[in-house]
Each structure stands twice: as C-alpha cells, then as structure tokens.
C-alpha cells in the first residue's frame, strides 16, 4: 500500500513538473515581444526602445530559458507566484480574491448538479425503459450537447431580459449567483445523470442480488447496502471529469455574467499578455486537478477491491 501511494505520488510529481515546464515553454515561445507589451501597458503610450530593453532586463526576459524557468519554479515551490508583469503587484493576493469569488460559484454549481441528477437518476431507474427513464436520458443527452456559454445566454435572455426576475451581470447581491450557478449546475447534472443512471442499473444487475431477494432481504436494505455503494464507484471516478467541467464552465460563465473570478482573471490576463498571472492560474489549476485525480485514484481503489496494485 505504501509502495502504491509512493508510486502515485511520484507520478503526480512528474506530471506536475511536466505541466509547469509545458506551460512555461508555451509562454516563453509566445509570439510577440512581451517586454514591449509590458512597457506599453505600463506607460500607456509609444515607448522608446531603451525603455523596452530596461523592462526586458527588469522582468528577466533576456535570460536563458532554463535560468528563467528556475527563477520562476524556485519561488513557486514555496508558494510565491511572482508579480504581475503589468502592475508589478504580487499575484497571490489577487489570486486569493479571485478564488473567493469562484469557489462559491463552483460549489453552488456542483450542489445544483447533484440535487438535480441524483433524484432524476433514481426516478429514471425505478422503471428502466419507461417513459420517465427515456425522458431523463433525452434530457441528459440534450444537456450534454448544450455549450455552457449558450445556456448562460439563454438563461439571461429568459430570466433577466424577458422576465426581469433575476439579475444577470456582476456580483452585487447574493441573487446574482443564481443564474451563473444554474448554468454550471445544469451542465453538471446532464453528465452526472447519465453516469448515475448506468451506475445504478449496473449495480442492480449484480448477480448475487436475486439470492438476497429470495432470502427475504427487504428491497430497501438491498438498495442501501448493495446498490448505492456500487453505483457510487463510477460517480467517484468521474469526479475528475466533473471538476474539469466545472473549471471550464467557470471560465465561460464568469465571462458571460461579467463576474470576477479565476476564469475572467485568466481571460483578461491572456488579453493583457500578463504572463505571470496566466502561469499562476494555469499552475494552480494543474495542482488542483492532479491532486483531485490522485485522491480519486486512492478512493477508487479503496471502494473497489478488485482494482489491485497492478495498475499502479
């Protein structure tokens, strides 16, 4: 077991190093002169070449690739995300502020997704192939095909523009979170419903269940002790996918609803070519993603004893 965890940790470390390297290489080789972009952003005007060169030296942009990479990764390991190349301010406090906006949104989306998909999947599987089931499957298929940004726009159109019930843009009141969270949540619900449904159906098909039933074990107990845990396994494994979905959704949803947060922070940093900020968000995402997937891997192995250590 310890060996398994060690190998998984080693794997995560290798992957994160690779991810950091890939990110840095992409930004390092980005077209255009970042020094010029920074200089223009700072002085808001056409700048002479000497100033651009000065900016270049200041920002360490004239260094060798590996030197620059080390200069970035070293502080990163102790949690220093560096300074914005445009404003010169530390990235980390800004990042924390953005997380404080994004986290509630993502959580609300996840909760809406779970609250919609669990009952829907349960009701659908009461009678597989029945009209409720077919409706649920159809809804889930359509839901999976609707891009988050379009759904968001439709919700704005309906509830904010036409009906005027809910606010759409910004974060002024708590009610402002409803539409963005709904956009995220319905997307999550669509994929979760499908996975839960097939998980429950598979769990009900376990070969030993009829024997329990014949011996008079109550249906409710069977559902609780044998169906629910089994159906939870695929849900745990797709949590990584849901996380990806949430993060991607957050980017689009924050842009559409003009909300501050990690997603809109990332997009505006890209547009301003403020690469330290971009790197910070990307690395943070990768750490989060890899950590969650590592945990999922461990939980999965704990839930399903059939998955041995051979897959490590």
């Amino acid at each position: 077991m310890i060996q398994l965890i060690a190998s998984l940790l080693l794997r995560a470390a290798v992957v994160l190093t690779g991810a950091a390297l890939a990110t840095f290489a992409l930004l390092w080789h980005a077209p255009g002169d970042p020094a010029l972009a920074i200089a223009i952003a700072r002085y808001q005007a056409v700048v002479p070449a000497e100033v651009v060169d000065q900016v270049r030296t200041e920002a360490g942009l004239d260094a060798h690739f590996w030197t620059a990479f080390q200069a970035w990764v070293g502080p990163l390991l102790v949690g220093d995300f560096g300074q914005s190349s445009v404003t010169g301010r530390n990235v980390w406090p800004e990042l924390v502020t953005m997380i404080s906006y994004t986290l509630p949104l993502a959580l609300a989306g996840l909760i809406i997704g779970l609250l919609t998909s669990v009952p829907l999947a349960y009701v659908a599987t009461r009678r597989p192939g029945g009209w409720l089931d077919r409706c649920a499957v159809a809804l889930a298929s359509i839901g999976a095909a609707i891009p988050a940004y379009w759904l968001g726009l439709l919700l704005i159109l309906l509830f904010a523009v036409q009906l005027g019930w809910l606010p759409a843009m910004g974060t002024r009141t708590p009610a402002h979170i409803i539409l963005p969270a709904l956009t995220l949540g319905l997307g999550v619900a669509a994929s979760l419903t499908r996975i839960l449904r097939s998980g429950i159906l598979e769990a009900r098909g376990q070969p030993f269940l009829p024997a329990f039933r014949r011996r008079g074990v109550a249906n409710r107990d069977i559902e609780r002790d044998h169906v629910a845990p089994h159906a939870a396994i695929p849900v745990v494994t797709v949590f990584g996918l849901e996380l990806a979905f949430l993060l991607e959704g957050v980017v689009m949803v924050e842009v559409i609803f003009a909300r501050p947060g990690l997603g809109s922070f990332l997009v505006s940093a890209i547009e301003a070519r403020d690469f330290p900020k971009v790197q910070a968000v990307v690395v943070l995402t990768a750490v989060l993603f890899v950590t969650v997937n590592l945990l999922i891997d461990l939980i999965y192995r704990a839930l399903d004893p059939r998955i041995g250590e051979r897959d490590a």
Partner: protein, 267 residues
C-alpha cells in the same frame, strides 16, 4: 460503424453543400437592413451589419464542422501512434509515454485550449494547434489499453516470432482491432472539437471575423440580445444539433460494440 459512416457523410455534405445553399454572400455588409427580423427575404433575419444570418450559418458549417473534423482526425493520428508506441515499446517507453499523456491531461482541456489559443494569438492556426494539443490523449489511452491486451494474443506473439517489424505488426494486428473503439472515442472528440471551436470563437480567441463561425456569431449576437434575441438562438442551436447528432451516433456505436462483445463472450 455504419452509423458513423452515415454521420460523416451527412456532416461532410453539410459542410460542402451548405455554403452552396446560402442565398447571400455571408460577408456582404448591408447596413440599411441591419438587425432585420426573420422574413421571407431573410429567413433568419440579418445581423448587426446587415449580413444574412442563414447564409452565415450555412457557411459557418464549413468552419465549425470542417475544422472540428480536421482537429479530431489529427488528434486521432497522434494519439493512436502515441498509444501504440507505449503498448509496443518496453516498460520504460510505456511509463514515459503515459506520463507525457498525463501531463497533457493535467489541465481541463478547454482551459488549456483557451490559454494556448489566447497566448499564441487569435487565428485559425493557433485554434487548430490549441485544440489538437489538448485533444489526443484519450485516443492514446484507449490505443495503449487495447494494445497491451493484444500483446499476449497468440497471433501477435507469432508475428513477433516471425520477425515482422513493430510497424507491420501495428498495421496488421493492432490497428484493425483498435478501429471500432477509436471510432467511439473519435465521435466524442469530434463533438468536443465543435464545442471547443465555438467556445474559443465566443471568447474571441478562435476564427476571426468576418469569417462566419458559430461561436463568433454568438459573440456578435450577444450585444444585441435585447433588441433581437432570436439572433442569438440560431448559432447555438446549430452547435447543439450537431453535437447531439454526433453524441447519439457515438452512443449507438458504443452499444453496438458492447453487444458484439457480449455475443462473443457467450458464444
């Protein structure tokens, strides 16, 4: 496989013939007739520059579907080669190959695509690059998984003993068994590419105006949501219909494959 064939034919036809059916030039600006509601003259109305929305949708099919097809097929090739190299190479090759795959999987793929396309600068080239780089890993995993399971089959051992080169073995013995599963992955990745293209277009990082791409059209329409809400419906609907059709085909294909396996299992 037949359903996938039909789907490909329909979508290719749509991308090829669609623009021919368009009643107007999709980039023809006609300011006096801007933001017209649907009418007999303009079936779906006109946009903020007076361009015919139906024509733009039909021409947009070429961008959205054509690029998505290209991206998903490039990813298919890269991923299959990577997966087969991992499966046929030694333990070290396999480990390295899979860690490279994991590295690319360390980001949610759309977020990575947004960063790549955004950093490289808007344009079709960086759009294709961004979505391909983030879209080959699933093929690689599937190809490797099946490849490893084939490794100890009698006929693969025989081919190795006969002294056939890994390339020939891959071509003769691995690829034919891989294709059905790869086709299922491909449908998913095709749909993903359509969503990705329009998402990047919507963020302004994708296909550039005046090209009629569905995501870009949505970005334009968003500003006029209050005055002409219908304008926002069409491009989104086009994306949803295409993605839904592809996903349903993929589901059908997967079910058919599972059934085939079951039959083999009981036979």
């Amino acid at each position: 496989m037949r359903s996938v064939g039909t789907l490909v034919v329909v979508l290719v036809l749509l991308a090829l013939i669609g623009p021919m059916l368009a009643p107007y030039d999709p980039t023809q600006i006609n300011i006096p007739h801007r933001l017209n509601p649907p009418s007999l003259e303009w079936l779906l109305g006109t946009d903020a520059l007076g361009r015919d929305i139906l024509s733009r949708l039909l021409h947009g099919a070429r961008w959205s579907l054509g690029l998505a097809f290209l991206i998903s097929v490039i990813g298919l090739c890269i991923g299959t080669v990577a997966g087969l190299v991992a499966a046929q190479g030694g333990k070290l090759t396999d480990w390295l190959m899979m860690r490279v795959t994991d590295t690319f999987l360390a980001f949610p793929d759309l977020v990575a695509a947004v960063v790549i396309a955004g950093v490289l600068g808007a344009g079709t080239g960086s759009l294709i690059f961004a979505l391909t780089v983030t879209g080959w890993m699933r093929y690689a995993r599937v190809a490797r998984g099946i490849g490893l399971s084939l490794q100890n089959r009698g006929y693969v051992v025989q081919a190795k003993l006969a002294g056939l080169s890994p390339l020939v073995i891959a071509r003769w013995h691995y690829l034919p068994s891989l294709l059905p599963s790869l086709a299922v992955v491909w449908t998913g990745m095709f749909a993903r590419a359509i969503l990705g293209i329009s998402a990047l277009g919507f963020l302004g990082f994708g296909v550039q105006p005046p090209m009629p791409e569905w995501g870009t059209m949505l970005l334009d329409a968003r500003i006029h949501m209050r005055s002409t809400p219908l304008q926002m419906i069409w491009p989104g609907l086009a994306v949803v219909i295409c993605v839904l059709a592809i996903n349903l085909t993929g589901d059908a294909l997967r079910d058919a494959l599972a059934e085939q396996k079951d039959q083999k299992g009981t036979a």
